[in-house]
Symmetry: C2
Subunit: 305 residues, 2 copies
């Protein structure tokens, strides 16, 4: 097995992923852990990291670069937000060293809009953008959907502005915690789900201001028309929320969609319904290439021994 | 103590209230119970009801009229929805008898819009409307704010149409279950709360389609400007949601606001900010007068012995 040059990690709120890569950026191994920021105190991070690194065939001789919530104030070691507007390529220089004796671990900062009238923050997405922009050539409008969907305007290798929609979090709350939960449920396949999603996207694009009303139809509909299938109700919820997100954030030009898996296909379908021209980049690939790009700027030679 | 002529009950999802009244409608006693629909099986209702009736000085000789979730399919005994459009005064005739040997107990039905394109239901609010319209002379647009806020158009003593906004439920989910919860908290008094509410109502009225974006500012703001006070953040959330509700549902003419307590003052403040002319009716008084009006139609003489 080749010697890893870098350990790269995307450390989120509820889990983290780690890759070992060689000097050319080829992935040698991958490890996943359920130890996200929400379940760790600062003292817990070193053992979680060394275990994952060992599982991926690396040890303390390999430098580690981390993006995401490990750098939040309530994470491992705070990596304070950089102001938006500066060059994306300057982000790696602001990485903060994490306390782990014998290891060289750095955490990338997030990016903030410090504007009292439209405050905004991202943490982790700046690294995906680094990959999307510097490794894959994205520019203009970039959409990174998720728990907190980001809509970023990139110009000249900088984040000119960005907005955040709480789409994914609101979806999760309504599916799992609300009075609507009894009417929903994902099925492996259901022929009613796709048209229900499409109709809901159209409905919300036409009347995004009525979202709070439209949500109640997810309760009233199944009560009055008991044939409603749970997968279709859930797809309708997804369509209503994503339609409202698109209505509020759609740019005038084409969009680069940075997403993976089900989220990628769901948003791509919504973009098509909304007539939003887009190209797609895989978010996992962008995370790795952003981390790799940053790691090479910090440690040009990778593992030294 | 006077002999009660009727027992009137508003039976909700998480609690119920019961009043004994004399032939003139004067309240003799009131009882409250935490035994709402959500915590009862059908067999549990008789003992919950007889205990509350006893606490209010009544027994099986007094007829009982109930509105609300006790009549839902998952309640005590289903009182199927009436279609909207008929005279409100015809609702009492559709009351359903509940199984409680030795007692005369009836449950009022809810009202539905059986329209696949805009399905809607109410259960409990139809009785408040009965009181507001038949006892207090309300007509035109009526707003009943709450977990599921109702906006009803009343004409000629009938429900011409209605809409429902999930405002209160979404508020509760975001305050208690979301990633925003760490930034919120109600204080007894906080001078920052009222202006934060007002600014948020204005913001949402101007851009109701951007609600999912605005919600994230409740996270980004406190992260970037740590002086934000929890009561002000929570007031801002309330203002954003109510502003969006008003933007989607505001009628052209004046509105009758049917609410009590904090909800009444909060919505009245939002109406004033939005320039919505309104008169206010107390929702508890409307519930009692609606139940009383219905009870007199069902049992003109009240308790017979």
């Amino acid at each position: 097995m080749k010697t890893p040059a870098y350990i790269l990690a995307d450390w989120g709120t509820t889990s983290f992923r780690l890759w070992t890569v060689d000097r050319d950026g080829a992935v040698l191994a991958e490890a996943r852990s359920p130890d996200g920021m929400a379940s760790l105190s600062p003292a817990d991070y070193p053992s979680a990291l060394s275990a994952a690194a060992a599982a991926a065939g690396a040890d303390s001789r390999t430098p580690v670069l981390i993006c995401g919530m490990a750098g939040a104030a309530q994470g491992w070691r705070e990596a304070p937000y950089l102001d938006a507007g500066g060059p994306l390529r300057d982000i790696p220089a602001a990485a903060v060293a994490a306390p782990m004796p014998g290891w060289d671990v750095r955490i990338l900062p997030g990016v903030a809009l410090r504007d009292a009238a439209r405050p905004n923050v991202m943490r982790g997405e700046e690294t995906l953008l680094l990959g999307a922009v510097l490794a894959h050539g994205a520019s203009g409008a970039v959409c990174l959907p998720g728990t907190h969907s980001k809509w970023v305007q990139v110009a000249d290798g900088r984040i000119a502005s960005f907005r955040t929609a709480m789409t994914g979090e609101v979806f999760g709350l309504l599916v799992r915690q609300s009075t609507l939960k009894h009417f929903m449920g994902e099925a492996q396949t259901d022929s009613a789900a796709e048209p229900a999603f499409a109709a809901a996207v159209v409905e919300s694009l036409a009347a995004p201001e009525a979202l709070l009303n439209a949500l109640f139809s997810l309760r009233a509909g199944p009560l009055l028309f008991p044939g409603a299938r749970p997968a279709a109700v859930q797809a309708r919820l997804s369509g209503l929320l994503i339609g409202a997100e698109l209505a509020a954030n759609r740019p005038t030009g084409p969009v680069t969609l940075v997403a993976s898996g089900g989220l990628q296909s769901t948003y791509a379908a919504a973009f098509q319904i909304a007539g939003i021209a887009h190209t797609t980049l895989d978010s996992d690939a962008c995370a790795r290439s952003g981390l790799l790009h940053a790691a090479r700027l910090i440690w040009p030679d990778g593992r030294s021994a």
